[in-house]
Point group: C2
Chain length 424, copies 2
């Protein structure tokens, strides 16, 4: 697809002045070719993915710290207008960064933090990217706000669309966890279940995007703007550490976009002088049942072979990850790695995080914790260095994964004698 | 029970200097008698409930604004030490205050806000009170951190205890919603299901508190400290409005504690000169299936007759509310009211909030939205005045309440033709 047949309808006059903040163009990640800011996502020269590029003015820590307690404090670093706060949105971000000493002791890591995105408005990091996509859809005059999704994205799109008063249509695999289905259907009349896996749903979305006018598929035709939202995870971690980069960071990999954007965020902060330049290592976490990037990493190849997902970590179940190649680049360049764990290890990771730090994560977070454990065991992650683990979503959405593992210790009559008999 | 036979074990030396911040005593809400700060909750003179009283120094907006982005920014106003941040806790609070223009239009209210506590660490306002109770338990040298709960409190206690590394035991009615059970069991080995309703569970907890040493039941024997945590809801609303009180506020009523503490917070802010004094009206929201305070309010009496709860709003299902009498006082003194709605209205309230503002609330929040609607209809709430509605918990915990109401619009094959056939 070239820019000329892009399906999103732009207002006749084009986007208003300042619609995309300090962004100046879309640049191809493969060949560097630049196109104007608009509803484009593929390079007209080489079909490579387009990415937002900026001309940043001087930006100070003080300006950022004076901003709102959500991702819009980083407005100057995102493709959104300066008045973004005045448009109804879910106001995501600035989630907790918790010092995780208990988990650190269990994993043998001296200085460990958990960035907890499960407390976002719809309980996953997707609220960040969707907020940026919503801004783009609004500036581009889109009439429908849509996505293919493994669940978390559907939740975020449906909620953000409801609040913004724009029609939403969300597409999910029909076998998705029940809580994630209800958590979308509660917000929109247009939840469409598709008989197929995520890659099938994604393909259908691209087809609809090609046929219909005025649809903004957040992760398809406004993907360049959408993806920039993940940078805010990197900005927040640095700011919450006291304007400092961690030594090591472990990030789950589905499409791979989040990992690449955290790296981009760190690079931007260094270039802007907001943090001191230093080496950092980025690690990717996958499930064995859908680990195409981990497989390629271990094989020492750039060729990522698509897989048919079979894992409880459904939010990571993207068999053909669009940004997998960039994840490999970053892991290798920074001295990180991409590792994978079994479904049983994922379940153990969920319980471990809950019992040590009081955070109930979904299967993706269980994957990240379990991979962190494995990285220490195989010697890939240095346990003496400051390490951040990202928790991207909430365990209430994937209850079935642990329902069989945890339960009431006892059911008793309402009497002290009955309680004493439990031995607790 | 008198202070001398209180079951919590205090360190031989007593609490350390500054253990309770600017708090100076516990004062009886009925007779005014004061006792020293300690593990006491009932007046030794009249058996009335004890409440924390303070001698506040001058406190400025700037000092508060320079604090952390959680409830500890209000440390000086809470019974916690100045170094509270350095002890592991879940760091709750400073949740979103969203301008709710879409919901306002639906309800006919011109200037409406939603304070959204569903994004707290365990997705309800209970994280606030539990964080204060945890501090008290720590300062008092308690060995077990426990509670009777309708669900949300169990989640918060189990998570906070895990993070703090203290043994937790949580008691719930055995018929509690499955998600709330898993959301406790994930954090603790000691979830005890009790065959009975909340009032039975509460009675059992009091019995255990009287028999065992060193147990801090957050809402029983450290209740005075615990309850102060709800004040932070009031502080945040005022700060987030730009250091200003709203004209009207609608708050769900279970025990009634939250409503009374929001009033206390507003009064403290006025006395400290942090906000301008002005009239405000406080409204209470209950379910018809458990509306003892609403019933007394409408009957014009102070006599609250206990009821046997029968409502989907399980987190409000306290048939014998400890602070009901104070709720009546405040509603009448401020020109508010206490209203109640049916389970069907509660379900409609949940869907209405989701579809208009992208917030998925639990049954308690559905109750508050539905009561707000009813208060406008009956003319009790002035639709031209600035109004805040508190959402206390998350819909993912009470999925069954709406599972039958919302679902996928269609399940289709992964083809464009199949999508077009849906008519969306």
């Amino acid at each position: 697809m070239t820019e000329t047949d892009c399906p999103v309808e732009t207002p006749a006059s084009g986007p208003r002045e300042g619609a995309f903040g300090n962004a100046v163009a879309l640049a191809c990640r493969e060949c560097g070719h630049q196109v104007e800011l608009g509803p484009f996502y593929a390079c007209p020269e080489c079909f490579g993915p387009l990415e937002v590029s900026y001309e940043f003015p001087a930006i100070t820590r003080e300006e950022i710290e004076a901003g709102p307690r959500n991702i819009w404090r980083y407005q100057a670093l995102l493709p959104v207008p300066t008045d973004i706060q005045s448009s109804p949105n879910t106001e995501p971000g600035f989630t907790r960064l918790l010092k995780a000493d208990n988990l650190g002791r269990e994993l043998g890591i001296e200085n460990l933090w958990v960035k907890d995105d499960s407390t976002n408005p719809t309980n996953s990091f997707k609220d960040r990217v969707v907020a940026c996509a919503l801004s783009a859809a609004r500036e581009l005059g889109s009439k429908v706000f849509a996505c293919p999704s493994t669940g978390n994205l559907a939740n975020a799109v449906a909620a953000a669309g409801a609040r913004a008063g724009i029609k939403t249509v969300v597409f999910i695999p029909s076998n998705l966890e029940h809580p994630k289905q209800v958590n979308s259907a509660i917000f929109t009349e247009n939840l469409v279940a598709v008989d197929g896996n995520y890659d099938d749903v994604n393909k259908l979305a691209s087809e609809i995007a090609g046929e219909e006018d005025g649809w903004a598929f957040v992760n398809v035709n406004v993907r360049p703007y959408y993806a920039e939202g993940s940078k805010t995870l990197g900005y927040e971690i640095a700011e919450q550490l006291g304007w400092r980069l961690p030594d090591q960071i472990v990030i789950p990999v589905a499409s791979g976009s989040q990992l690449t954007k955290v790296d981009k965020a760190f690079q931007e902060l260094i270039k802007l002088g907001l943090v001191e330049e230093k080496p950092y290592r980025i690690f990717g976490a996958q499930a064995e049942g859908c680990g195409p990037v981990a497989t390629a990493y271990k094989a020492g190849t750039d060729a990522i072979r698509p897989v048919k997902p079979d894992t409880i970590a459904k939010s990571l179940a993207i068999g053909n990850p669009a940004d997998g190649i960039y994840v490999l680049d970053i892991a290798r360049r920074t001295g990180g790695a991409v590792e994978e764990v079994t479904d049983d290890e994922i379940r153990e990771g969920i319980v471990l995080l809950a019992r040590t730090e009081g955070i109930f994560t979904e299967t993706a977070g269980g994957t990240t914790v379990a991979v962190t454990k494995k990285l220490v065991e195989v010697g890939a992650l240095d346990p003496t260095q400051e390490t951040v683990v990202i928790n991207t979503g909430h365990g209430l959405k994937t209850l079935d994964a642990v329902s069989g593992q945890v339960s009431a210790a006892a059911t008793i009559a309402p009497s002290y004698a009955a309680f004493k008999a439990t031995g607790i």
